[in-house]
Assembly symmetry: C2
Homo-oligomer: 162 residues x 2
């Protein structure tokens, strides 16, 4: 008998409002689980903020690191490949380019993860686990595939593509 193929949806929504010089408060909802989280971002004084919360890129760095770590743990059980106290070091490098006083334009340079599974399992098993975690990490797969975010802008004539 062929094994069953299942597809499941994962939807997160965010509703962001301004709440300080550069601070944003975002009500995030994990729709499919009915979980809600209040998450703030801010900028440090150099960028005109009050430093009351991490900047968006700090949240992004934690999200990517945590995503891979979570999948390593989830799939360690499923694949029966034992792990120890997993440690992951991430380095995310971007550049900005600016012409005169124009708004700067950004681009990624490279993201790297150094992963120590602290595992006694054979290297081939550890690599198999890491491959599964990469494919199961929603953020890594989104980065790998690339994606153009859709935008709509509220205008006097209503919501328009932008």
């Amino acid at each position: 008998m062929a094994e069953e193929r299942k597809t499941f949806d994962v939807v997160f929504t965010g509703k962001g409002v301004m709440s300080g010089k550069m601070r944003n408060d975002i009500a995030v909802e994990f729709e499919t689980m009915a979980e809600r989280f209040e998450i703030a971002t801010d900028e440090g004084p150099f960028h005109g903020g009050d430093g009351t919360a991490p900047p968006p890129l700090a949240l992004f760095t934690a999200a990517l690191t945590g995503c891979v770590m979570t999948q390593i743990r989830a799939f360690s059980k499923r694949l029966m490949i034992p792990i120890g106290a997993v440690e992951v070091e991430a380095r995310l490098h971007w550049q900005g380019h600016q012409q005169g006083r124009e708004p700067y334009v950004t681009a990624p340079v490279g993201f790297d993860l150094h992963i120590d599974l602290q595992s006694d399992a054979p290297e081939a098993d550890q690599r198999r686990l890491l491959e599964a975690a990469k494919k199961g990490c929603f953020i890594e797969q989104t980065l790998a595939q690339g994606l153009t975010v859709g935008h709509r802008l509220k205008t006097q004539d209503g919501w328009q593509d932008a």
Copy 2:
């Protein structure tokens, strides 16, 4: 005289350790600003966690929403396009595909941002501001360009590409 072209680097590092059933604690450093943030992720009970912190995808949703909002505000001043109390609604949709009991494989379906600048500026100016914010948002640009994360795994023979 040609306007000066400047390039600047933005580097974030994260050091993640396991600190609960599914919880991770990530020490994030904004290297170029010497700012540090302790950010945790966890999963809800359905995924074997204790719900002590938002899941990675909730942080990711807040990061993307906050990134665009921050650039709208920064570039509003620079472009002298006035904005009101900006509100952004984000919807991020992924799917997972699973064959039998194998680890699931993930893919993005679509990310959408609905942006209300609450601005009296002409629509053309609002669109110009939004275009600048898209190009200045490190996360949107990374998604648009796509990026394969590099991995190294600690083995008995030292760090190896993985």
